[in-house]
């Protein structure tokens, strides 16, 4: 694993050997990304420092480079140098604002390496500055000169080239769906039950995190079981089913737009009515909120989270749950991209209150919840793995305080990080998706005659 301190690291070598032309190109990209909102945000920080304690990186490490206001200053100083009157007066620890290789190194270390784009600093900013947005703009600037950290870039590249971020071949995906259909038939006792593929004209087109077919097929089976119980009209695409979009994290708007457009193409090809985003926080933010901006077009169909669908099933009586089946204490981790940045806040709570007997909240929770540390592409940037696990301590403490035996979260990135935290901090908890918990509590009424 290349370290961010390794002098032989080819990535750091590339940064140090940046040519003036590349830096000018980056600066031009930065300028192009600005609009009235970002410029207003860039003009507004008063360095009150109150954002510091909102960042899990700063809280755990106490490193000043992790303070959101410092990260913001790195971006603001470049902006001021570029455009504003007497920008030099604001000069401080961030440097003089010239976008040179030293500044690029600082940008990468703080804006990729010490940020999960969780939005907690934005929520807590005294001024209301969208710090998350500005950090992503800086990432986009770096992406424009191919300086996305290698692990994160390779995830994006795999998704673009292979159609999904795990590089699962089409045949393997179809095989998985086939054997999951057989599993479903056995579970529900109905030989007609199956996971429909490329079925035209369905109500829902379901998209999944490729980690489900690759490593957690039972998550996918759980959702299929819920759809079966609700007699839903649904399908998955054989080609483009990947709900993830690491372009959100790398900052590469072109790749991000391409990945989101593929799901939309599948919607059009199959004639589905609603695009359903599987349990993936950043997949929801990307495809529900950011994709229309990347694609510069309104969606002509609804885009919903599977959480909203399950919520509706329960509320409308389409599925029955027996909470007595889950007696262990359950807590909920709120994925930042789904909750704080996505607006899906109460639905998962309603679901859990109906699916388990002992549901307890973490503190803080909902939009104020702490990031688990796995967002922002951190799980794919192995060079920052130590920091990621270290900063996850806050989440581990939150979980431990609840006394829960099961941690539920509607996000596979969070599940991966929580699983690592489970080992690292010896939490002794089970980690599940919302669908898995609902499927466990599901009362299936026999349909076959």
């Amino acid at each position: 694993m290349a370290s961010d301190k390794d002098p032989k690291d080819p990535y750091l070598e590339r940064i140090r050997q940046l040519k003036p032309g590349q830096l000018e190109s980056a600066l031009a990209s930065f300028k192009r990304l600005l609009d009235h909102k970002t410029v207003a945000n860039l003009q507004s920080c008063v360095n009150c420092g109150l954002c510091a304690d909102s960042c899990h990186y700063f809280l755990v490490t106490g490193e000043t480079e992790a303070i959101p206001a410092y990260k913001l200053k790195l971006v603001t100083s470049v902006f001021r140098k570029l455009l504003s009157l007497l920008g030099g007066l604001a000069r401080g620890s961030e440097g003089d604002g010239a976008l040179d290789s030293q500044m690029v190194e600082k940008w990468i270390d703080s804006l990729y390496g010490r940020c999960t784009l969780c939005g907690r600093c934005t929520l807590n900013c005294t001024m209301g500055i969208n710090i998350t947005r500005l950090i992503r703009i800086a990432r986009t600037t770096l992406a424009s000169i191919d300086l996305v950290p290698p692990g994160l870039q390779s995830t994006v590249t795999t998704a673009v080239e292979k159609g999904n971020n795990m590089g699962i071949p089409r045949e393997e995906w179809l095989d998985t769906l086939q054997w999951l259909s057989e599993e479903l038939q056995m579970e529900v006792g109905d030989h007609k039950a199956h996971l429909p593929v490329d079925k035209p004209g369905t109500k829902l087109l379901y998209t999944v995190n490729p980690r489900e077919p690759k490593f957690f097929p039972l998550s996918l089976l759980a959702t299929a079981k819920i759809f079966y119980a609700a007699s839903e009209s649904w399908t998955v695409s054989s080609d483009y089913y990947d709900v993830t979009n690491y372009g959100l994290y790398s900052g590469d708007d072109g790749a991000a737009g391409l990945l989101s457009s593929r799901l939309r193409e599948s919607m059009v090809e199959l004639g589905a009515k609603t695009l359903i985003l599987g349990e993936c926080g950043h997949g929801y933010n990307s495809n529900r909120w950011e994709a229309p901006e990347w694609l510069v077009a309104e969606d002509k169909f609804q885009v919903k989270s599977i959480i909203q669908i399950i919520f509706d099933y329960i509320r409308q009586g389409h599925i029955k749950l027996d909470p007595s089946r889950i007696q262990k204490r359950v807590t909920l981790h709120d994925p930042c991209n789904l909750v704080r940045l996505g607006g899906i806040i109460e639905e998962q709570r309603f679901i859990l209150r109906n699916a388990v007997t002992d549901f307890v909240e973490m503190s803080p929770n909902r939009e104020k919840n702490y990031c688990c540390g796995g967002g922002g592409g951190q799980l794919s940037m192995t060079r920052y793995a130590k920091r990621r696990l270290e900063t996850g301590r806050i989440k581990a403490d939150q979980i431990r305080k609840t006394g829960a035996k099961i941690v539920v979260t509607p996000c596979h990135n969070c599940i991966d990080q929580l699983s690592e935290l489970n080992r690292e901090y010896d939490l002794k908890v089970e980690i599940k998706t919302v669908s898995e918990v609902v499927a466990d509590a599901l009362v299936i009424e026999k349909k076959e005659k």
């Binding site: 807590n124 900013c125 607006g343």
Partner: protein
């Protein structure tokens, strides 16, 4: 022309300068273009803006304020003092004499304002992470405004201070657009954007009654 008349003109000119430059800066933001938003809203931008300027300002709604309640309170009182200094400046320039009780209230607010401003400056100097974050502008802006409040306070006691007070006001008004004091305008801009962002996404105001 009397010294007072010169100072009065100076204040007016500096206020005008400040307003013109701030207006140019505001308009400058729009030269970067306005990108329409395409994602369908889930909540209300308007409700988000109302939240941003209402409930969203309260300490129990914002962890950063709740955890730093003294800084939060100091900030509020500092700004109340600044507002009072501005109003007092207007009364000085317009030669309006305030009733004794009102003058007492002005003094109290100015004292609280000065104490708050100095306390925030001390905090900035003493806390390592605040020192790390701070640049020249952070100290200069604070000292300038503290001086403004202090001279306003002294001017409430003696007419001899009626000269330095407008002078520091002129310097402050000229400086505002060039440093962080520009937040007197940009604060409202970013709070609106904050409200729109979280409002249309259905995050704020908190939708706890939705489910």
């Amino acid at each position: 022309m009397s010294l007072f008349a010169v100072l009065k003109l100076g204040v007016l000119a500096s206020v005008l300068f400040c307003l013109v430059v701030l207006t140019v800066m505001l308009l400058q933001t729009f030269t970067f273009g306005r990108r329409p938003t395409y994602a369908h809203p889930q909540g209300s931008s308007f409700a988000g803006i109302v939240y941003a300027f209402g409930l969203g300002m309260l300490p129990w709604e914002k962890e950063s304020a709740a955890q730093h309640i003294w800084t939060y309170a100091g900030g509020i009182l500092y700004h109340a003092g600044i507002l009072m200094a501005m109003l007092f400046l207007a009364t000085v320039l317009l030669r309006i004499s305030l009733p004794a009780t009102l003058l007492q209230a002005v003094r109290i607010l100015l004292i609280i304002g000065v104490v708050s401003g100095v306390a925030l400056l001390i905090k900035r100097i003493l806390q390592p992470h605040m020192r790390f974050l701070s640049g020249g502008d952070d100290y200069l802006a604070n000292v300038l405004v503290d001086l403004l409040l202090l001279l306003a306070l002294t001017a409430t006691f003696t007419e001899t201070m009626l000269v330095p007070f407008p002078v520091i006001a002129i310097i402050t008004f000229i400086y505002i657009p060039f440093g962080k004091l520009r937040h007197c305008v940009f604060y409202f801009y970013t709070r609106v954007l904050f409200g729109v962002f979280f409002g249309r996404r259905g995050v704020l105001p908190h939708p706890s009654k939705k489910a």
